[in-house]
């Protein structure tokens, strides 16, 4: 109920529309009540006494009232739609903004299908309640209050009887609604599960096809579908019993009045006229109860969905901008890790332990290490995708937690391991971080990323569509677009996380040459598996098990670090000697020396 109230809080912004809708409902209900009275007039005062003029006037009045009532019915529908759709719009915008702002650690655990379901289906459920259910609920309660008040005035004894029945109805209402709510919660959950299966199936369609798992996937989906169906049926059964039960109670109360009152009338204690009046009032008081019965399901469903929606809106992002965060204008690129330790989630293992190093402006810092040694974790801390567990990360002497996220991230160019291109043109994709960049700037960035030539190879050049509905780019081409995207930011700090793993060596070499030029005086962090990529770095950090086990330049490391030498040699040795290059010789020598 708490969440339902909260969703009603959104009505505030639309209170004028909502009030209008409510007024419209009141007036149209009023006219609908008056029309039968007018018909009565026609018959009693017109036809019965032979006054044709009254017949005609009253008939015209009926039509007029109907028209007026209809106008208000229309207005009510229109205003209610505007209110409800407006609230859905607000909720979706808020959800979207919130989802976009939640930190990486939230998204590491969240499922797209889950979030998507809440932003579409759950918002819809809340919307329908606000648009229809709430107005009906409100008018039912008002009508109930009104008719009970009326009853008190006409017959307080009878009113007392009805007052007993009201809590009973509400009790039943509350009982079933309470029972149904967790079920609705589960239904929405299962719907989200179903959508997750679907979403993953679509996102992973290549894997599905590669392993010929279509039948298995269909079975998985059918299973989720079936379990949703089963639960829907349980709820269906519940309300199949509950909704008519409210009617039954109203009927039984009426029966009681006739039965008991009937005996009293027979005994002469009650006039028949009064009995009939009793019954009629009773019906009047019960009508709103029946309305309540009809919207019972809607209320509990909306309660469940509202909770799911607010769960996201209330989600606590681990990376929060401090209220007094400062804007950093032009980063020089002095990046320092001071005894940084880090774990991804509370109970998890430490993935970084006591990591300290400094990257100076103009330096290229390379990170090397085995799979899962913590390289990506190190660079993810610089743009503050996660917060450190211990120690601190500073940029130009500022703890990154003291800076505004936008000012920090806008000056850091990141190429992530997994490249995602968005549906749109290549141009738009490169301009992702700076939508207003000119074509010249975009081309310059693409040239530096060695992407210009292949882009021009497409018939539409920079206007070629890529992403979900566009041409298929190879892994290496995608990476180069991603590099261009990062370069266009003209970043003070550049992070390349395995950014060229799918690019051939020749191209990579040219990219590196371009970067050297572009990144002059700026700091770059490069993660790579290929030794060739890191050879020229000013500083190479070798990570193992989340710790820096060696650091220095290529030459220094080759001379001092057995791990580095081993990595280096593993890429060059292959057991053949048909191609003795100088490098390979160097490797063998180095290894030999360290061993000695």
């Amino acid at each position: 109920m708490k969440y339902l109230w909260r969703s009603l809080g959104y009505l505030k912004r639309y209170w004028l529309l909502a009030a209008g809708a409510f007024l419209g409902l009141g007036i149209s209900t009023g006219t609908r009540l008056i029309i039968p009275r007018l018909t009565q007039v026609v018959i009693d005062n017109g036809i019965a006494v032979g006054r044709l003029d009254i017949v005609l006037w009253a008939s015209a009045g009926t039509v007029g009232l109907a028209v007026a009532g209809s106008v208000f019915t229309f207005l009510q529908g229109l205003l209610a739609a505007r209110t409800a759709q407006g609230i859905a719009y607000d909720l979706r915008n808020e959800l979207y903004a919130k989802i976009q702002s939640l930190s990486f650690s939230y998204h590491d655990r969240a499922q797209t299908g889950q979030l998507l379901t809440r932003a579409t289906s759950d918002v819809d459920v809340v919307r329908m309640f606000v648009g229809m259910g709430f107005i009906q609920l409100l008018s039912a309660v008002l009508m109930m209050a009104g008719s009970i008040a009326l009853l008190f005035v006409t017959d307080w004894q009878l009113a007392l009887i009805i007052l007993v029945l009201v809590p009973l109805t509400f009790g039943i209402f509350g009982f079933f609604a309470g029972k149904a709510r967790p079920l609705f919660m589960q239904i929405q959950q299962r719907l989200a599960d179903l959508n997750t299966v679907l979403q993953e199936n679509l996102a992973g369609v290549r894997v599905v096809k590669a392993f010929a798992r279509e039948a298995h996937e269909a079975q998985r989906y059918t299973q989720a579908n079936q379990s949703l169906f089963d639960l829907n049926l349980v709820v269906g059964r519940l309300f199949a019993v509950a909704i008519p039960l409210v009617f039954l109670i109203a009927n039984l109360a009426l029966l009681a009045v006739y039965w008991i009152g009937g005996h009293q009338a027979i005994a002469g204690d009650l006039s028949v006229g009064r009995l009939v009046a009793f019954a009629n009032y009773m019906l009047m008081a019960f009508f709103p109860m029946l309305m309540l019965g009809m919207i019972m399901a809607m209320v509990s469903q909306a309660g469940a969905s509202a909770e799911r929606v607010f769960e996201i809106l209330d989600a606590h992002s681990e990376v929060i901008e401090r209220p007094d965060a400062v804007e950093i204008s032009a980063i020089k690129g002095h990046v320092v890790f001071e005894r940084v330790s880090f774990r991804y989630f509370a109970r998890g293992e430490l993935v970084l332990k006591d990591v300290s190093f400094a990257g100076e402006p103009g330096q290229t810092v390379a990170l090397l290490g085995a799979t899962g040694s913590g390289k990506s974790s190190v660079v993810a801390l610089i743009p503050r995708f996660y917060d450190v567990t211990g120690g601190r990360v500073t940029v130009d002497g500022h703890d990154v937690r003291d800076l505004t996220l936008d000012s920090l991230r806008q000056q850091i160019g990141v190429v992530l391991q997994e490249t995602t291109l968005f549906a749109g043109t290549i141009r738009e994709n490169i301009a992702f971080g700076r939508p207003n960049a000119s074509l010249e700037e975009i081309i310059a960035a693409a040239r530096a990323a060695e992407a210009h030539d292949f882009i021009m190879g497409f018939p539409d050049g920079y206007d070629t569509l890529v992403g979900e509905r566009g041409v298929t780019l190879s892994g290496g081409q995608k990476q180069r677009v991603a590099i261009a995207r990062a370069l266009l930011l003209d970043p003070r700090i550049l992070i390349l996380d395995d950014a060229t793993s799918s690019v051939d060596y020749e191209t990579e070499y040219r990219i590196q040459r371009a970067l050297e030029r572009l990144m002059e005086g700026r700091t770059s962090f490069v993660i790579a598996q290929r030794i060739a990529t890191v050879l020229d770095a000013d500083q190479i950090l070798v990570l193992e098990g989340g710790e820096i086990v060696a650091r220095g330049t290529h030459e220094e490391l080759l001379a001092e670090s057995p791990i580095y030498a081993e990595i280096y040699c593993s890429q060059l040795q292959g057991g053949d000697s048909g191609s003795s290059t100088g490098t390979e010789l160097e490797c063998t020598q180095a290894q030999g020396e360290i061993e000695r």
């Binding site: 018909t39 036809i47 019965a48 009926t62 039509v63 109907a66 529908g77 407006g86 719009y89 976009q100 590491d108 655990r109 499922q111 579409t120 819809d124 679907l198 993953e200 679509l202 996102a203 992973g204 369609v205 290549r206 894997v207 590669a210 279509e214 989906y221 079936q226 169906f229 269906g236 009927n251 006739y258 039965w259 009937g262 009338a265 998890g348 293992e349 799979t371 899962g372 995708f385 992530l416 391991q417 968005f422 549906a423 971080g433 939508p435 206007d463 509905r469 190879s474 892994g475 990476q479 180069r480 395995d498 690019v503 020749e506 070499y509 598996q529 290929r530 990595i567 292959g574 490098t583």
Partner: protein
């Protein structure tokens, strides 16, 4: 992310599309056909509960007239018989059945109680049946669509937004359910009562009856006009919610990029535009509907006014009057009863437009033909040796320039074939043809002499293991993810495969080992670790042909060497295709094919190619190039 500009069209995105509504509707109703017996039962229950509801006022009337305030109405036969059967009354001469008033009241009230209880049961049953049918249709429809999606080929998915597809399965099916569960049954019962009323009106007074039908043609015209507009509006709502959901899906999936580039503000702005379009489409559709119902109200009130006016005229202008006041009163009740189902039907018809708009999108998807299908006489590929042959193969995606041109190569069983070349040269495309993700434009791809187009795809892919460039993990445990390669594999086999792929080491270090839940796309693992899991998955599949498409690009070279050694063992007697840039990965290949601009320009062993001092030689040396 929403970018402007024209888009490719897999499925239509346009709102205004002339469609045959009748056909769509018929087809939609076809999904209800299997449940006709349930629908008939539900309709029967509606009739029963309607009758029972009508019985209630009658019974209270009887109670008042007969026992509470006895008048001179004759006692109904059923009541007399009942009293006799119960033995609570007596007979005295010609007076008929006599009964004590209090007892009579009790009897009548008991009957009333019975009708109430029965009515409850009938209504409950009817509600339940409607839910059952509606949910069954939904279940069926979703399964059908999902099944169809599974059949479609990759070329379709290259063109389709995931979010829009999802919206068709999620939102469009729901809208159908909302309108149809109950709607169909209500329609039947409304039709029934309508016939009854028309007959009674005509028998009562044909003249007045025809007069009260006068607005009927106007109503039909209004309904068609409204529903045409409603259909267009609803189509827009379906389409815009598809766009909203595509936008959501894309940006939730790529939220890391969004944050890395501090794009949140722009994205929120762009989302608001789509979201507003959806809101406005909904408001428009709903306001058409809200105008519709009052319009019908006005028309039915006019009909009543006609009855009163014309009836009054007939009663007053003639002497003796042509109609009695009583007749007019009962006619008024009839007219109200007559227009109630008509309004119901018309309202339903307008709402059905929403369902039709949803159904159009669903049927469009169901009608999409997969580009790649098994040929009618496709044979199931027997266990293969692994001889792969590309025979003058040419291929292009869509209508672009050919990605592969006249490519011919042969891999003997057990050979390791390496594909080498600059990025974007068509290496991945080549192996995609081998798995028949796409069909060749020209030439033939053969496995063990079978043209791939002549064999069933499943039998083919079951014998291949593929590690793709983009590793995709499903949400589930590590165990589940590896087992995806062979569903019937035991835990031990899964662990053995992980061991072989060198994944065992890091997996056992995870908090819950093989039972550790992986987030979607496995984001709590490093890229290299994900690749190891993907390799384990392919190893588990026990394939005759293994394809590694940059499978170890993010794995460090030491680990890679260990994997390589294990694979050497595993691959004895099996054919493998390896795409890699790292030369250490490919130097052991039996054959190396160098691709350039979509053609094979060099081939041979590592040594032969180095000796030839061609493109391969250059590529090989580029990895050692250092600043001069």
């Amino acid at each position: 992310m929403m970018f402007g500009g024209g888009r490719f069209h897999g499925l239509t995105q346009e709102a205004a599309k002339p469609a045959d509504v009748g056909r769509t509707l018929r087809r939609l109703l076809g999904y209800f056909r299997p449940f006709w017996s349930l629908l008939v039962a539900a309709a029967a229950l509606i009739v029963v509960s309607t009758l029972l509801r009508l019985a209630a006022p009658y019974l209270t009337g009887v109670a008042v007239d007969q026992f509470i305030a006895p008048g001179d109405e004759p006692r109904p036969v059923w009541l007399e018989s009942l009293i006799l059967v119960l033995g609570v009354g007596g007979t005295s001469g010609g007076e008929g059945v006599t009964v004590d008033r209090a007892v009579g009241l009790n009897v009548t009230m008991l009957v009333l109680l019975g009708t109430y209880l029965l009515n409850w049961a009938a209504t409950a049953g009817q509600f339940y049946l409607m839910t059952l049918v509606g949910q069954r249709v939904l279940l069926h429809l979703r399964t059908r669509i999902f099944g169809r999606i599974q059949m479609l080929s990759l070329a379709f998915f290259d063109q389709q937004e995931v979010g829009d597809l999802m919206s068709r399965l999620v939102n469009d099916t729901q809208v159908i359910n909302r309108v149809f569960s109950g709607g169909v049954v209500r329609l039947a019962s409304m039709g029934l009562s309508l016939i009854g009323i028309v007959v009674s009106m005509l028998t009562l007074n044909p003249r007045l009856a025809l007069a009260s039908f006068a607005v009927l043609p106007v109503m039909v015209l209004t309904t068609t006009a409204f529903s045409r507009r409603a259909r267009v509006a609803f189509r827009r709502t379906r389409q815009t919610i598809g766009e909203v959901s595509a936008e959501l899906q894309e940006n939730i999936a790529a939220v890391r990029e969004v944050q890395a580039f501090a794009r949140e503000q722009e994205n929120v702005g762009e989302f608001e535009v789509l979201n507003a379009a959806n809101r406005d489409a909904n408001v428009q559709a709903e306001s058409i509907l809200s105008a519709f119902s009052p319009a019908l109200d006005v028309l039915s009130t006019i009909a009543m006014a006609i009855v009163v006016g014309y009836g009054g005229y007939l009663a007053l202008a003639y002497d003796p009057p042509l109609v009695s006041v009583g007749l007019i009163v009962s006619f008024l009740i009839y007219v109200r009863r007559f227009y109630e189902p008509i309004r119901g039907i018309a309202n339903l018809y307008a709402q059905v437009q929403a369902a039709v708009a949803g159904a159009e999108r669903i049927f469009e998807l169901l009608d999409t033909q997969p580009e790649i299908t098994d040929a009618p006489g496709a044979v199931r590929l027997p266990p293969i040796q692994g001889r792969v042959e590309f025979d003058h193969v040419t291929f292009s995606y869509q209508d672009e320039e050919p990605v592969l041109q006249d490519v011919s190569l042969t891999a003997e069983p057990g050979q390791m074939v390496a594909l080498v070349g600059p990025t974007g040269v068509g290496k991945t495309t080549l192996v995609s043809l081998l798995t028949r993700f796409y069909d060749v434009d020209e030439g033939v791809v053969r496995v063990d002499g079978y043209d791939l187009r002549d064999v069933a795809r499943e039998g083919l892919r079951r014998q291949m293991g593929i590690v793709l460039q983009d590793t995709f993990l499903f949400s589930g445990t590590v165990m589940d993810n590896i087992r995806y390669g062979r569903l019937e594999a035991s835990d031990e086999e899964v662990i053995a495969a992980a061991h072989l792929a060198n994944a065992d080491q890091f997996v056992t270090r995870l908090p819950e080992g093989y039972q550790t839940q992986l987030g979607e796309r496995g984001h709590n693992l490093s890229q290299g670790q994900r690749q190891l899991i993907a390799i384990a998955r392919a190893v588990l599949a026990d394939p005759r042909i293994l394809i590694l498409d940059e499978a170890t690009s993010s794995v460090d070279t030491r680990t890679e060497r260990l994997i390589q050694r294990a694979l050497d063992e595993l691959l004895k007697g099996r054919t493998s295709f390896v795409i890699a840039h790292r030369m250490s990965t490919i130097r052991n290949a039996d054959q190396v094919f160098v691709l350039h601009q979509g053609r094979i320009v060099e081939q041979g062993t590592h040594e032969e190619l180095l000796a030839a001092r061609g493109l391969y030689y250059d590529l090989y040396n580029s990895q050692f190039r250092r600043e001069a």
